[in-house]
Symmetry: C2
Subunit: 350 residues, 2 copies
DNA sequence: TAAACTATACTCAAATTGAGCATAAAAGCG
DNA sequence: CGCTTTTATGCTCAATTTGAGTATAGTTTA
């Protein structure tokens, strides 16, 4: 086999929040330069043209840095005004791009997280905003623990635990499941561990990607595909909308990162308009955290951190008593910002 | 100018701790594949053959993942048994590799942090362990604030603040300096913000790399080099040993990451032998954190987190009362490990 | 006018954190 | 041997932070 080398590209996870709804920008077709996703041995018809994140090759002649490269083509292609931008992770696994199975190059992709205030996407019409929890439904605990955790995830993980070859493996799996999803009352669920949860589900054959990838690899290698358990497949299809390649893994990485960042950097403000009520701010934080917060404590924390200041104006558009409008204290908190917004963990009880 | 494309490589920051001394593995010459660092317009003779981190190109044919690639060549070349390995950041700035100035390709390098128990480096003889604080001396607060903070850093940053063009910039710089180094009593110094500190020093022309890079770029562009202020140069030479390329920035990234990780993952144990006294453990954490810890509180935290268990054996090699030997509770804490080792911030007073 | 909803001020107990005191057990040294 | 030095280990205490309420006020909507 010849050495097809590597292709280096940039993947953008662009987040916004409208009112209560968290959104991420996805494209239906892959970008021109890497068009037509190779036929994956698709397990599920839905997977045939699944969503991807905006992707562009990195051109060192045009771009001084990876970040400026990303900013430039995202702004060119979507017209969005990216605010906070942060490098996430570089993904370089074998067969990330299924074309590698047929002799294509390794696709090394530097993932970036970008925050913006939501606005209609200009430019190429194939990009659209989607609720990010439609891809990772088990991460949204705002209305309590979603039903599919008990009905789909728990049984699937139970099966996986029971399939352990020996006692030690079995106990390790039990512990891991318990920690990731907080089933054990002793270890409350940590909102930041999104990637671990996704990877656990992937390993446990609980998401559709596991089956898809296995099948694709087996086909490319000329091995007779193993017939997946129909019950496992059906269960996997219930676990959120699929995405192409490892894009759901990337989304999980992004979500974990932004949740972690929340605690020590005032990043929320890059998702909000210049002026906002404290309750709007809280709604956005809740959308990110995937859980409800205690209102009084939330504002206490904001005040203690000197993160916001009142504008004097009021917002009467809401239903109840009008709330005062605040603005982010740029400058001071910008740098200081040892304080962010702390997220409590989610107790197993709730 | 033709398009020379990119080269994708892997950079390894390998850390170990011997007794009290933190160590990082550096090589004197660059690895074969990217040998002979181009002549940087070296400001300082010492910079002519500076240390670099082990670097190797990424070969997608041999390596299924970036991490396995890194593990493989590091273990081949050094014989070290890498334990914890984590991706740090991908560096792709213009002119990272000075050969780019002369038409070379962009060097995109995926940085990895690796922990190992120190052992003599086998294999190619040009690798050696160095105290990592020799490169970032302002990060070691174990014996109180190092003198060079007051004698070198503070004056240099003062000059930078005074050079601000306008009042707003000036205040921003003041705030930033104060937050990074904790000069202001209100904002204690955060051990995790190592990268911010390095970048601040770089921007403020306080480290030698700023001068080196500026000169190199000016020469390559055929611009007459600006003569650097001799006092600034002299001061910059006092700020730790230099490294090639952006390797000190990478080290700062690594140090910040491991310090942050300490708080929520039991990574220290990958630097220790199987059995250790609590005091040895504390010494290692202190080496990482760059500050001294309260002994009693430290063990209280360990016990609360169930991270270690006594072996029953005693260590009598020390001078005082023999200490009990402990081992890391693998398995349980491995996964649970919401608890790590929390680092207090460093108050300005001390 | 009541019900519903939102804003905002306070309180309180539990848990966490930073710092110290006290005592125990060894080694080294006169 | 007795004294100093050094390290280990158990325990207390106050300050702060955190999670969860109670109480009351100001608006809109049925």
């Amino acid at each position: 086999m010849n050495n097809p080398g590597t292709v280096t590209g940039l993947t953008a996870v662009i987040l916004a929040v409208t009112e209560e709804t968290p959104r991420v920008l996805v494209v239906r077709r892959m970008s021109h330069d890497l068009a037509t996703p190779a036929q994956l041995g698709s397990v599920d018809p839905d997977v045939d043209s699944p969503d991807t994140f905006p992707f562009g090759p990195f051109d060192p002649v045009r771009h001084r840095t990876l970040e400026s490269g990303l900013r430039q083509w995202v702004e060119e292609q979507t017209g969005l005004d990216l605010r906070y931008v942060e490098q996430l992770y570089t993904f370089g696994n074998e067969f990330r791009d299924p074309r590698e199975l047929h002799g294509g190059p390794r696709l090394v992709s530097v993932g970036y997280l970008a925050l913006t205030r939501e606005s209609p996407v200009a430019g190429t019409g194939d990009a659209e905003w989607r609720d990010w929890y439609s891809f990772l439904p088990w991460e949204d605990m705002r209305e309590g623990s979603p039903k599919l955790i008990e009905t789909v995830i728990r049984p699937a993980l139970r099966t996986w635990i029971d399939q352990a070859a020996d006692r030690a493996t079995r106990e390790q799996r039990e512990e891991r499941v318990s920690v990731c999803f907080g089933f054990d009352a002793a270890a409350p669920r940590d909102p930041v561990r999104t990637l671990e949860r996704y990877e656990l589900l992937y390993e446990a054959d609980a998401v559709i990607e596991t089956h898809r990838d296995r099948l694709a690899i087996q086909r490319a290698r000329g091995v007779t595909p193993t017939e997946p358990d129909p019950r496992a497949l059906e269960s996997a299809r219930l676990l959120g909308a699929p995405m192409a390649l490892d894009n759901r893994r990337i989304l999980a990485t992004a979500l974990g990162r932004i949740r972690g960042k929340l605690a020590y950097r005032p990043v929320v403000f890059d998702l909000l308009p210049t002026e906002f009520t404290l309750f709007q701010l809280q709604r956005v934080v809740e959308a990110l955290a995937g859980k409800r917060l205690h209102k009084q404590n939330f504002r206490r924390m904001l005040m203690a951190g000197d993160l916001v200041e009142p504008t004097g104006r009021m917002d009467s558009s809401g239903r109840g008593r009008p709330a005062e409008l605040y603005r982010f204290r740029r400058g001071v908190a910008q740098e200081r910002a040892i304080v962010g917004v702390t997220l409590p963990s989610i107790s197993a009880a709730e």
